[in-house]
Symmetry: C2
Subunit: 143 residues, 2 copies
Amino acid sequence: MLSNSSKYAIKAVLYLALNSSEEKRVMVKNISTAINVPQAYLAKLLQELSKERIISSVKGPKGGFFLSSLNLQNTLMDVIDVIDGKKRLNSCVLSLEKCDLDKPCPLHNIISPVKHKFIYNLQNKTIKDFSLEIKSGISFLPL
Amino acid sequence: MLSNSSKYAIKAVLYLALNSSEEKRVMVKNISTAINVPQAYLAKLLQELSKERIISSVKGPKGGFFLSSLNLQNTLMDVIDVIDGKKRLNSCVLSLEKCDLDKPCPLHNIISPVKHKFIYNLQNKTIKDFSLEIKSGISFLPL
DNA sequence: GTTAAAACATGATAAAAATCATATTTAAGA
DNA sequence: TCTTAAATATGATTTTTATCATGTTTTAAC
């Protein structure tokens, strides 16, 4: 469903949503220990996200990664799209090309409703929305 | 969520449910072309399922794979367990160890309800149930 | 301007998943 | 009993994913 890379990227982005700002940049090292993801690997992921303007960064001393208020308007689907590409999430559980409402595969009806809700949320809730939920104790970011 | 291997295995088992019987065995070659999966790879998967008694087989000429009436009582979860192991489906979307009802991760509430429904169906509907649904036109097995 | 701290770029390695190949065993049928 | 058709067993190869390593560029602070 989601690649490891996407999971890492989501965790990192949510971490930044909670712990960074224009003025308070965070460096890979700190993010990686906080969310428990190998540093060099995470660095690569963050660079991709940065290149696609999903997150922000500044080089040099006192530099690091952060989310601008514009970045906070992105969705987790934007993150996933950059890391996994668009196809992965949208394909049928059994990877059947021809599976659709008219000719649903045997697992379609079981999984379809959840998946749509899942995708709907991923592409409609902003990163800011998620961070607010975490701040208010509705959800959590354990390691 | 499901590995490619599991998807292949599920397709093969459902194919057998519809097209085989104690007397009418089907050989890998025919299954593989029917469900569009590489023959040698599928052979390996079927052998694992056979060893675990999820499906039945006889060697030699006129041999092949089939589902006994006992086999038809198995569930797709049995298939998945053999191919992917038990952990894969049950883990959190973000692979967070500590994600649970008490401390749900940000995606937990979005995906949890229907995932449970999915898993419930996988382990409670028999392969026979699925084949009946296909026979009655409720669901389909395209390629 | 020199130094140092950070992201950025690129590529090498390792591990896992998917795929292919080949020899062995079993059983039917002549 | 011999041949042949099938599954079975085993392992090699390829591809993808995950991980590691190292050099380059940018920028703050002195």
